[in-house]
Symmetry: D2
Subunit: 424 residues, 4 copies
């Protein structure tokens, strides 16, 4: 037994000693569920959990739906029981009445999910189970409530304090890297060569959050370019023939792509922590870094312009920038939040709208969604808290004076006639 | 960046980038709490969490108690709110009403604890916080309810699926080993030499559960001796001058000491899983192992005998064994469970009372608590489920025929005159 | 400082603290050499070593050649000195005279190479230096002698006891895997997908030898297929649409590709150890494995047949197999060894010629070099020693009775008219 | 197969697949030797190596000696063969004649030792074999020559480039730490508590060199204290009740103990590299460190003073310091080197005699060997090369002006009457 052997058992033991599913166990799923919730987590229970997860994985969608309905309906809270327990607690608040209250308000399916999670590898399977639920559940109110139970547990399990930040590099295992290729959601990675160009050069970085119980599955990752200045074109930033700079001479870290990896972790937010953690880590590693920005798409721009009847097809770069600034600062939903989802994400994190660039994404996708315009959100670690607070409290959007000017200019234009104005 | 560097960041990143507590932050604890529960987990929130945990750690007990009272009283559920939310949910069960219900039934202090857990190292500090609560809370009903919230969250966080089993050997790090020495609760480890004799020989093993967020703190550990036969004396088993046997020739694995390490994890059970996991692992490593038993103390024996007025001071070995078998099988609490706490633990796990031995623990402690008698509980992996079920359902205790005979014999004795009988 | 941090420093420390080359150091290479051989390995010496290696790496071939000539000529042994030292030793053999003798017979360039090797990363650079020497040295006798010094030191440094066997899998780091793609010398790996198909399925394995001082550079690797039976076609074995079998059900391990990776380690043999180590490891992991064979090319077959004037272009499968068996067993060089280089390698390792297959490699290369015929060499671990000894002592080739029959049949044919015979 | 599994195999594979010694093999050692040198490193050879090493390990000293004599005598060079090969090489220097020459000048026992080293764990056993040789060989000239062969190979195997520097901390494995306790040669470590006090505090460090093939055996280690100022008392430096300082505030790194661990590696020097590597590493980790010094014993002081007839028993601190400075700078051996062995070591490394302190080591050993005086050698990384060169070339000892003054003052004293002078 060696240090490494010790370590090996410590971290990855989970994989080797799976309680094997019992394929001869023909009981209906409902019976497996009862058996699992009824036992005290002993050998029988683990085998039932293993069998149940295996069976679920191989089910048709219709059977999965039926299983979900069973959880949603038959393992729900009992309102009468809740009232009784609440009355008893209120009459005499103590450990016993409070424990009974807690038991009454928690549907049995939560305990089921926790018990399923006792076996090795279960966390990953439960995340996939929720992905199935989201895919199949639709607008069914009962299934949406069930989803809320999954989410409640997952928020606790995937607490920031349990996540580990892991650099992804060209020295990372191939089975992780192929997932990076598959999960990249912003600027497609077209080949292993393309991936290499994003990981191997000295001025590129990538980081992902992992959960210790899912060591092979990134939860979210961010790709970073180290540059001299704030960039205004994604094609230039990723150009295959560019000359990499030495990391220690870089002044700017550019977060140019952030991708969530797990559909089963929808509505559980990691991005905020990830960006700030990576910024802090890079800062410590490379004291020369002074600026942390994104180079972000504006996915809703052309759609919104079209819906507003604002012509932009023939706009020159300056006008496009003006329209983009206006869209980012002034286009709001009914709840007062920005129309643009990427803007909502970064502003909610405390970032500031720093600059917009025309001809910044000349790909077909870039032209289609934002007429080629991109935006830099600036993360000033000394101000994100204040920005966040103002944004959260009053919907106030932090922006550079340049962006403010563009927004102001846009408001003076008769935008419905922008095209005419431009042609004049 | 290397494989190991990558790995390093993966697993232990948590340690290096602690959000530093802000020692100039003079706000009252209540304000820190509000600030933490109010923010969305961003930089401000992490700093508040860090400051709060640091401040708590340095507090006097009286201030800790006041902090607990604040959580217990001011961050409790609102029964009226629960009723309103429940009515709304019942009237129209859907995601929105269910989410509102879940929010209403969960006291805000639970969210506080989850947010405290977002910073590196927090899990360990929260476990210590609960240890303080248990120590200071006494029988206060509100504080017992608060403890129930900690326990509820900890059960979820310390789910078996998240724990890692780690062999503890003479090649383990010294800072872990010194904790093994400190936490050993059954047969004291008197020195590093003594520890070495329990870890280094080829016929000794030790295993502990760890949580990935507390990599330096064992949660529970078990010490194992590999032997030819089932042992009947702890002093023989641990004799310094014994000749170690080759592990592959061993037929029996003896669990001779199980110690819980964390007071803050009281009433969260790991022992059952640990024994069964270790038995399964040893079985896979050493196919020659056929028998898994304990050599356990009987901590309540002499106390119970005295309370029952049964004389045992001058009993011969046979009578002592008879009395012990009788105690283990027939001495029950009002709820029907065995009087002996160690018996409750192993029988609850599905073990069987296999044999009792006189002169088995000749230490002062052994003589005092059980007149030197010890017991083997047998873990027959093929029968633990059935044993457990019968015990749980009907209080039926599995025992060998030998033990049953001793118990039966005891019942025929006029025990109040046992001494006289013996002398006759 | 953690276990892993500790480990990290242990293994990869070498990378981080390179004695930096001094680019302002303009001394001629000869002076750097003197300075390095003259110092006692202290700071000055390390800097000189670092500068020298850096300079060499950036040199034109003509300058490299000049450097080699300096080593070969000016740092050679002095025959007169050898004689004097030998006389003194013979007159009075003791530590002092023997040490002087050892110093006299070892050319100073060996000490130079050892001192260059004191800095981190030097081993890899010295291996590349020898590759340059082999490429540039040609038949120059002095440079061949210099090469012999490199080889002498490398044999000591790359002693089997210092090498580590490392499984290569789809979970290996990408920067290692891209080298596997580049170094594969038998059956080209055409893409990352192709690589995946050779590593990821449960019935595929790959192993490489590494040296601890060159952790990123495989020295030699072997690809293995786990199968039910001994295969007779490389295309079938590697078919993209085959159904992988479960490793534990496999009876046969097929070594279907062995590639040396480092030109600078030419004439330092690892293959023998690698095959036997891998066979032993697989045997331990998968007790079901009963047969260890290769599926090997016969690179010299068609060339030899042509040279011998034996027509084979229109031979049917049976005749091709007959010719191949005859070639393998009876076509010998003047020194009595087989003509075929792959045969020499495996027979020298103690393998047995087990079977030959026509239509076994239908690739263009396979058809060109061996008319599509391939051969299985069998490694019977219980007999390799005996096979090796007979082969080494008497050139006796171990072969199955089937192969012997084919060889015997070939000898009865009038091979120069084989084609005619076949057509009759 | 995981990253760690992969890694595990990489580094420690050596341990698990030992070619097992064949205990039924009764051949005389001489036959095993022949068999091993005769085979080509295949299975038979590995088994012979394993058997030979095992047998040697269990031998009586007299049999070990006989084995050594066999190597020394029967596997020696053949002078006539050397002459023939040399003549042939001189007549026609080419690869073939040079290879033959190399073969002739190398005694067969060197090849034997290399082949023994092919099996796992052999390096450590060979180091122990040399320790036996040094212990048993005495002044026997043949055995001293044999030792020279071991040393020649070990210098190549234990080349600085192959060693790894590993921090030793309180988180290191206990089986390594117990060796640190055992091997400490300067200031005894009296208990695990004592060890803890040298490793665990934030202002203490320890580093060791390891060889990858002997991962459990330190070769040499150094203990370091981080301090504000240059210390003048070992008892103060190691005081159990001192208040540790924060590492980042330290200005000085004090090497207060350096211990060689392996007798079998005598006369193979690691200390020079170790100190400089550790100084460089600490410098990188803690930029606040400005001074690197030792606090060293002066083991030969009182012995030399007595031999010189210089009274020192009643000397006051100032006189003791004067005598010590005089001893360190002016007491030379016939070859011009300092009498003091520790001085020779540090001055040979390029250090400078910085200061001497009376009452610096008040232990019995300290009083006995140096009347309680200790010395700081200063490692000024910018000057060690120059210091070394002057010392090596001209025996010139670098010293501070203070030390020079003391030495000069001593020379003016009539030292034979020092005691009298003091009393006046």
């Amino acid at each position: 037994m060696t240090i490494l052997g010790d370590l090996l058992s410590t971290i990855f033991e989970r994989r080797y000693r799976t309680a094997a599913p019992d394929r001869r166990d023909n009981r209906p799923m409902e019976d497996l569920v009862s058996s699992l919730v009824g036992t005290a987590g002993d050998v029988t229970g683990l085998a039932a959990a293993s069998t149940l997860l295996q069976r679920f994985q191989e089910m048709e969608d219709s059977d999965k739906l039926q299983f979900f309905r069973h959880l949603a309906h038959d393992m729900n809270i009992d309102p009468a029981g809740v009232r009784t327990a609440l009355d008893a607690y209120e009459a005499s608040p103590n450990r016993k009445t409070y424990t009974a209250f807690m038991a009454a308000v928690e549907p049995k399916r939560q305990e089921l999910i926790r018990r399923l999670n006792q076996i090795p590898g279960a966390t990953e399977q439960l995340v996939r189970m929720r992905a199935d639920l989201l895919r199949l559940g639709g607008a069914d109110p009962e299934l949406q409530a069930l989803d809320q139970d999954f989410r409640h547990l997952f928020i606790s399990w995937f607490n920031r304090g349990f996540l580990v930040l892991r650099p992804i590099s060209w020295e990372s295992p191939a089975h992780i890297l192929e997932k990076i290729i598959a999960y990249e959601a912003v600027h497609e990675i077209t080949s292993w060569e393309d991936l290499r160009s994003r990981l191997a050069p000295g001025d590129r970085r990538c980081f992902a959050f992992f959960h210790p119980s899912m060591p092979d599955e990134p939860l979210i990752f961010v790709e970073v370019a180290l540059t001299a200045d704030i960039p205004g074109s994604i094609q230039d930033l990723l150009a295959g023939d560019r000359e990499p700079i030495t990391a220690t001479t870089a002044r700017t870290a550019v977060f140019y792509s952030i991708s969530n990896c797990q559909e089963g972790l929808a509505r559980i937010s990691f991005g905020n922590s990830l960006i700030k953690q990576v910024a802090a880590d890079l800062s410590a590693e490379l004291p020369g870094l002074k600026t942390f920005v994104t180079l972000s798409p504006i996915p809703g721009l052309t759609k919104w312009l079209s819906a507003e009847g604002i012509a932009f097809q023939d706009a020159d770069p300056k006008l496009l920038r003006t329209l983009a600034a206006y869209y980012l600062l002034s286009a709001r939903r009914q709840d007062g939040q920005p129309v643009d989802p990427v803007a909502r994400f970064h502003l909610g994190n405390g970032a500031l709208v720093h600059a917009v660039h025309a001809e910044a994404d000349t790909s077909a996708k870039g032209r289609a969604q934002s007429a080629g315009v991109m935006v830099n959100y600036l993360y000033d670690l000394g101000k994100v808290a204040q920005n966040h607070d103002r944004y959260a409290a009053a919907g106030e959007i932090a922006a550079s004076s340049d962006i403010r000017s563009l927004d102001a200019a846009a408001k003076k234009l008769d935008l419905r006639e922008a095209e005419a104005a431009q042609q004049a």
